[in-house]
C-alpha cells in the first residue's frame, strides 16, 4: 500500500464516495449503488476519479447459480423418476411397461431413463417385459432429491457432487451472475492531506465562452489513461447482421428475394415437392403439426390436380410416379415450415424465365434443443431457372457460394439425396479444425416437381446451412448462442 505522491483534486461527490469505500474497505458495486442511491452512469463517472488515481481498485466476479429447469422443478416436487419407479414397484411388486407408464404419468423417454438408472445400480430386473425390484432399497439417489428440494426453495446448498448429473439430466441450468467488487488501495485516512476538493473546472460552460472568462481560467487536464465509463450504443444483433450481409451478397449475385408464411400447407412443404404422402419425413417426429386450425385450404389453381397426377402416375413426365391414391386432405394439413424449399415451391407458380431467387427463412423441426439442435433455425434457399442451365452449372453455382458466401476455396462435392431433385449434390467445406462441414445442398428439380407448374426448363434448387457457417466463422460451438439473450453478448459481441 503506497501513499499519494502528488496532490489530487476530486469532485466533492467523489470524495464522499471515497470515504464510504474507505470505511468499508471492500464493497460490491451493487450494494454501493443501492446504498449511495446513485445511478450506474453517475457512479461510473465518480469512480473513474478514484480508480484513475489508484485510490480504489475494481475486480469483476462471476458467480454460478444453478437454476432448476421445468423437469427439475417437477422432480423436486414429485420426486425423481427413479424414486417414483421404486415406489410404484414396491406397491405393486411387478409391473409391465405400460402399467408403469400409467402410474407414473410421464413420457416414455423419461421413464426409460429412470429404468436405465435403476438397472445400472442393479436394483431392477426385467423378465418377459415385467419389471420388478431386486433389492427393496427404498431411498434411491436421496442426496440428489435433497439438493433439488433445496434448490427449488432457492436455498444455498452444496452441489459439488451433483453438478454433472444436474446438467446431464437437464434438471438444472447454470446462470452466471456478474458483479464488480471495489477495494480500497489507499485508505482515506492516509491520503486525506493530499486531497483537495476541486471546484469543477473541468467543464467549459457556455457562459465562460460568452463572457470571455475562459481566457483567465485554467481548465483541468483530463486523465487520458483510464477507461471511460461503459457505454453501449444501439446495434443490430450479431447474427441478424450476418444474415443481412448474406442477403446483400445473394442480391449482388443477381438473386431476387422471396418469402413465404411460417405456418405452411403440407401441400407446399411436401406435395408440390414430390414427397410421397407416406414419406417418413412427413411423420410426427419430423415435422411440427399445427393444432388449431388443423387444416388450411389448398390453392384453387389447376396445378393441384397436376401435382396429384404427378404423385399418382407421374403426369406427363414419363415418370412412374409414386403409384398410390393421393389425398387432398393430407395435403391441406397445416405444419410449421420445415425447410425453405416450401418458399421455392410457392415461387414455381407463374415462374418467369430466366430467374434466380433466394429466401432466408425460419424453419422448424421437432428436435430436442441442445448444443447442436434448435427447434428453429434459418435456411438460405433458392432456385435458378434457365433453359441453358446444366448440372455442371449447378456445381458452378455451388462453387460461387463456397467462394463468395463461405469465403473458402477448400470445398468438395458429394452425391446426395432429396426427394425433389435429381441429380442431387452436397457441398462440403473443409475446415482445418473441424474437418468436412456440410454447408449446402442442391439439385435439379425433378420433372415431377416442375411439370405440374407448366415449367419446361431446368430449375436448380439450392440451400445453404447459414447457421453453421456463422458458427464456424465466429468460433461458436453451441447453436443456442445464435438466439442468446445475454445482454452482455448482445451489447459487446465483436463485429466480425
Amino acid at each position: 500500500m503506497s501513499d499519494l505522491e502528488d496532490k489530487v483534486a476530486l469532485p466533492p461527490e467523489a470524495i464522499k464516495l471515497y470515504k464510504r469505500i474507505s470505511s468499508l474497505k471492500e464493497i460490491s458495486m451493487k450494494e454501493l449503488e443501492k446504498e449511495m442511491q446513485l445511478d450506474r452512469g453517475k457512479m461510473e463517472y465518480l469512480l473513474s476519479f478514484l480508480i484513475s488515481n489508484a485510490l480504489v481498485e475494481r475486480t469483476t466476479t462471476v458467480n454460478q447459480k444453478y437454476i432448476l429447469t421445468d423437469a427439475g422443478k417437477q422432480a423436486a416436487e414429485k420426486g425423481l423418476i427413479e424414486r417414483l419407479i421404486v415406489t410404484a414397484l414396491l406397491n405393486k411388486q411387478s409391473l409391465n411397461f405400460s402399467e408403469l407408464a400409467k402410474i407414473l404419468e410421464c413420457n416414455k423417454q423419461e421413464m426409460n431413463a429412470g429404468i436405465g438408472y435403476l438397472k445400472k445400480l442393479g436394483l431392477l430386473q426385467i423378465i418377459q417385459g415385467k419389471l420388478s425390484l431386486l433389492d427393496e432399497k427404498i431411498e434411491i439417489n436421496e442426496a440428489m432429491q435433497e439438493v433439488l428440494k433445496e434448490l427449488s426453495k432457492g436455498n444455498e446448498v452444496d452441489i459439488t457432487q451433483h453438478q454433472k448429473e444436474l446438467i446431464q439430466r437437464n434438471l438444472a441450468f447454470v446462470e452466471e451472475i456478474k458483479d464488480s467488487i471495489l477495494k480500497i488501495i489507499i485508505p482515506y485516512s492516509k491520503s486525506k492531506s493530499m486531497i483537495t476538493e476541486s471546484i469543477d473546472k473541468s467543464r467549459l460552460t457556455p457562459a465562460m465562452i460568452r463572457n470571455g472568462s475562459w481566457k483567465t481560467t485554467k481548465l483541468r487536464s483530463y486523465n487520458l489513461d483510464g477507461d471511460p465509463p461503459k457505454y453501449y450504443p444501439g446495434r443490430k444483433q450479431p447474427y441478424a447482421q450476418f444474415l443481412d450481409e448474406v442477403k446483400q451478397k445473394l442480391a449482388a449475385l443477381g438473386f431476387q428475394e422471396m418469402r413465404g408464411p411460417i405456418v405452411e400447407l403440407e401441400y407446399w412443404n411436401f406435395d408440390a415437392l414430390f414427397q410421397a404422402q407416406d414419406h417418413p419425413a412427413r411423420e410426427w417426429s419430423d415435422v411440427y403439426r399445427v393444432a388449431n386450425p388443423k387444416l388450411g385450404k389448398l390453392p384453387k389453381e389447376k396445378h393441384v390436380k397436376l401435382v396429384q397426377k404427378s404423385h399418382e402416375d407421374g403426369y406427363d413426365t414419363g415418370s412412374k410416379g409414386w403409384r398410390y391414391k393421393w389425398s387432398p386432405e393430407k395435403s391441406a394439413r397445416l405444419v410449421l415450415r420445415a425447410h425453405g424449399t416450401s418458399v421455392s415451391a410457392r415461387t414455381l407458380v407463374g415462374l418467369t424465365v430466366p430467374s434466380k431467387y433466394f429466401s432466408i427463412s425460419r424453419c422448424f423441426r421437432p428436435d430436442t434443443v441442445d448444443a447442436t439442435h434448435l427447434s428453429e433455425f434459418n435456411q438460405a434457399e433458392g432456385i435458378v431457372a434457365d433453359p441453358s442451365i446444366t448440372f455442371r452449372d449447378l456445381l458452378g453455382i455451388l462453387e460461387t457460394f463456397a467462394l463468395d458466401v463461405a469465403e473458402t476455396d477448400k470445398f468438395l462435392f458429394k452425391p446426395d439425396y432429396y426427394p425433389f431433385t435429381e441429380p442431387s449434390v452436397e457441398l462440403s467445406v473443409r475446415d482445418p479444425k473441424l474437418g468436412n462441414i456440410e454447408f449446402g445442398g442442391a439439385g435439379i428439380f425433378r420433372p415431377e416437381v416442375v411439370r405440374p407448374f407448366d415449367i419446361e426448363v431446368p430449375v436448380i434448387a439450392w440451400g445453404l446451412g447459414i447457421d453453421r457457417l456463422f458458427m464456424v466463422k465466429n468460433g461458436i460451438t453451441d447453436i443456442r448462442e445464435l438466439f442468446s439473450h445475454k445482454m452482455e453478448w448482445l451489447r459487446s459481441a465483436k463485429m466480425s
Partner: protein, 564 residues
C-alpha cells in the same frame, strides 16, 4: 437419413483393401453415405446413409457393391443362380383387405457368425422401420427352415390361436401378445386396424409368426447354428414386398449362401397368377443420350455412358442412334424417371472431376420491399439506442400469457411439441422483450432493446404471418416519454401520422398506456408495464414498451402473408 453401426475391420475385409477412415469416407460418398463417427476402441463405425429410397445401401455389403463398381473391381448387375425348392406358401383370400402380399426365399449353406447375425438384424430393422414405414407397408421375417414343413399357410386365424412369442416362455393367445409383448405394443395397432389376425403357419402346425408383429420363439429364432433360412416379407405394397426380398437375397448371396425359390399360391382375389419368388426379372428404362449430355453439360459417346452405368451396377446397351436401354438391378426400385439415370452417370463421372462451369444466368437481384422496410425500422431503432434481440418464434405459452398478466390469448399451438418451452407461435413481441429483461437484471441499466420480427396470428379460420416491431426501455429513470418520443420520431421519419388513445390492458398501468392508431385503425400499443407484471418477472426498474404492426404503416411496404 438412416444410420447404421458396423465394424471398420469387417468393412475393410469386404472392400478387400486397407483404407484409412478418410479414404473410406471419400469412397462411401459414392454410396451416398458418410462416416458420422468412429469409435476406435470398439472398432465401430457409425455410418449415415443419406438416401431414404435405397434400402439396399443400408448395410456394408450394399455400400461395398457400389464402391467396387466405382473402383472398377466389379461391373454391371451381380448375377446369381436361384434353385427351385419344394416349398409353397398358400395365401388366404381374406387377407385381400389387410396385408395381401408375401414374398419368400430360402437361403442354404449359410455360415453366420454372431456378428453377421447382428448386422443382418440391423439391416432388417432399418428396412422395416423406414422403407417398410414402421412395418405398415412391409416387414421381414426370418426362420429356421429345418423346423418348417411345406405348404406354409399365410392365413387369417382366430384370436384364440396360441403360440410362444420371441423372448417369452409361455404360450399366449393373439390379443394377449398385442397387449403384453413389447413388439405388440409397438406394432399391434397395425393388426388392430385389419380387424383380423394374419398368421404364418407351417404344415406341421407350428406357428412361424404373427406378421408384422412378432416371430415365434422357436422357429423364429436365428442363431449361429442356423444353416438354412426361410426369409419372408409380407406387406401392403406388392412392389415393396418383392424388392425387399430381392435386397435380402442379394445380401445372402454376398454372405456366400445359395438361394432357393418358393412358390406363392395366390387366390384370385389378390393376384391372378401364382408366383415364384424372388422375382428377379430386371426392369428396363430407355434413356436418350442427347438428353443426358444436355442435362449434364457434357459430350459423352454411347460407349462412355454404357461404361459409366456399368460402374454403377446397371447393364446398358445402345438400341438406337442416341437411344440406350438400361437394365436395373432387381434390388433397386428407385428409378422412376430417366433423370434418375442421369444422376447415375454423373456419379460415375465423379462430381469432383466433371468440372464446374462459370455459369451465367443474368438477372437483376434485390431484396424484397418488405425486407427493405424492416431494415428502415431496424436502423431507426438502432439509432434510438436500441440493442437488437433475436428470439424464438416458437415459444412457451406462459411467456405470452401469464407472465404478462394475460389469460385468454388465441395462440397457434402445435399438435406434437417436443417440450412446452417450444409449443406455441408468438403472436406479439413485447412479452419476449419482458422475458429478455427479466433474464438480465444483473446487467447495467438503462437497457434499451428491440426486435423486428415475424409473428403468427389466427384470423377467423385463416393463419397469417406478419412483421411487428417492438421497443423496450428499462431503467430507474425510464418514463413513458422516453419511449413515446422514440415512437413519435420513428413514425415522423416514416412520414406517418398517428394518434394514441387511452387503453385498459392487463399488462400495462391504466392511464399510462394507449393504443396506437394509424388511419383509424388500431395497429399497436404503447405503455408503462404494470408493477405487478414487473414483480412477477423480477424486474426491479420501470419498463416502458411499444409494439407496432409494420403492415399498418402505409409508407412502408410490409404485407400480411396468409398461408392460403
Amino acid at each position: 437419413m438412416v444410420s447404421i453401426k458396423t465394424s471398420y475391420t469387417k468393412m475393410k475385409e469386404l472392400l478387400g483393401k486397407d483404407v484409412t477412415i478418410e479414404e473410406l469416407d471419400d469412397l462411401l460418398a459414392f454410396a451416398k453415405s458418410e462416416i458420422d463417427d468412429y469409435v476406435e476402441e470398439e472398432d465401430m463405425l457409425v455410418i449415415d446413409i443419406k438416401t431414404s429410397i435405397r434400402p439396399d445401401l443400408w448395410c456394408p455389403e450394399g455400400m461395398v457393391r457400389e464402391i467396387k463398381g466405382i473402383l472398377e473391381q466389379e461391373a454391371g448387375i451381380p448375377e446369381y443362380e436361384v434353385k427351385k425348392s419344394n416349398y409353397k406358401v398358400i395365401v388366404d383370400p381374406k387377407l385381400a383387405t389387410s396385408r395381401p402380399y408375401i414374398a419368400c426365399a430360402i437361403a442354404k449353406n449359410l455360415n453366420l457368425t454372431d456378428y453377421s447375425i447382428k448386422q443382418l438384424m440391423q439391416h432388417s430393422e432399418k428396412i422395416d422401420n423406414s422403407y417398410g414405414r414402421k412395418r405398415k407397408r412391409s416387414s421381414i421375417g426370418m426362420y429356421n427352415l429345418s423346423m418348417i414343413e411345406s405348404p406354409i399357410e399365410y392365413k387369417v386365424i382366430d384370436k384364440s390361436h396360441k403360440f410362444v412369442p420371441l423372448e417369452h416362455e409361455e404360450e399366449m393367445d393373439l390379443p394377449t401378445i398385442l397387449e403384453k409383448h413389447e413388439k405388440g405394443h409397438e406394432f399391434g395397432d397395425i393388426v388392430k386396424g385389419y380387424g383380423h389376425y394374419p398368421l404364418l403357419l407351417s404344415a406341421n402346425g407350428t406357428t412361424l409368426s404373427l406378421p408384422p408383429v412378432i416371430n415365434s420363439d422357436d422357429v423364429g429364432r436365428i442363431t449361429e447354428d442356423t444353416k438354412e433360412f426361410l426369409i419372408e416379407v409380407t406387406g401392403t405394397n406388392y412392389e415393396t414386398v418383392n424388392v425387399v426380398l430381392n435386397i435380402l437375397c442379394q445380401n445372402m448371396v454376398d454372405y456366400g449362401s445359395d438361394i432357393y425359390s418358393v412358390e406363392i399360391i395366390y387366390p384370385p382375389e389378390i393376384r391372378k397368377e401364382n408366383e415364384v419368388t424372388p422375382l428377379l426379372k430386371k426392369e428396363t428404362i430407355i434413356v436418350d443420350l442427347d438428353k443426358i449430355n444436355r442435362d449434364l453439360g457434357v459430350n459423352l459417346t454411347p460407349d462412355e455412358v454404357i461404361a459409366a452405368l456399368r460402374k454403377r451396377r446397371f447393364e446398358c446397351k445402345a438400341t438406337g442412334k442416341s437411344e440406350l436401354e438400361v437394365e436395373i438391378p432387381p434390388y433397386r426400385k428407385d428409378i422412376l424417371h430417366w433423370v434418375d439415370i442421369v444422376e447415375e452417370v454423373a456419379i460415375a463421372l465423379d462430381y469432383n472431376k466433371i468440372g464446374a462451369t462459370k455459369w451465367e444466368v443474368i438477372t437483376t437481384g434485390g431484396l424484397l420491399p418488405e425486407t427493405e422496410s424492416e431494415n428502415k425500422v431496424r436502423s431507426i431503432l438502432v439509432g434510438s439506442g436500441g440493442i437488437e434481440i433475436f428470439s424464438n418464434i416458437l415459444t412457451e405459452p406462459e411467456i405470452l400469457t401469464t407472465n404478462v398478466n394475460l389469460t385468454k390469448v388465441d395462440l397457434v399451438k402445435l399438435q406434437n411439441p417436443v417440450s412446452s418451452t417450444y409449443s406455441v407461435l408468438r403472436d406479439r413481441l413485447f412479452p419476449l422483450l419482458i422475458n429478455v429483461l427479466s433474464k438480465n437484471t444483473h446487467e447495467t441499466y438503462p437497457q434499451l432493446i428491440f426486435e423486428v420480427g415475424e409473428v403468427v396470428k389466427i384470423l377467423g379460420k385463416r393463419v397469417l404471418t406478419q412483421t411487428h416491431a417492438s421497443f423496450g426501455f428499462a431503467g430507474a429513470e425510464a418514463s413513458f416519454e422516453d419511449v413515446h418520443k422514440r415512437l413519435h420520431m420513428m413514425l415522423d421519419l416514416l412520414d406517418t401520422e398517428y394518434k394514441i388513445e387511452p387503453i385498459s390492458h392487463p399488462t400495462f398501468t391504466e392511464g399510462r398506456s394507449g393504443k396506437i392508431i394509424i388511419a383509424e385503425k388500431t395497429c399497436g400499443i404503447i405503455g408503462e408495464i404494470h408493477p405487478s407484471v414487473l414483480e412477477l418477472n423480477q424486474i426491479w426498474v420501470p419498463v416502458v414498451v411499444f409494439e407496432i404492426q409494420l403492415p399498418s404503416i402505409p409508407t412502408l411496404n410490409c404485407k400480411k402473408k396468409f398461408t392460403d
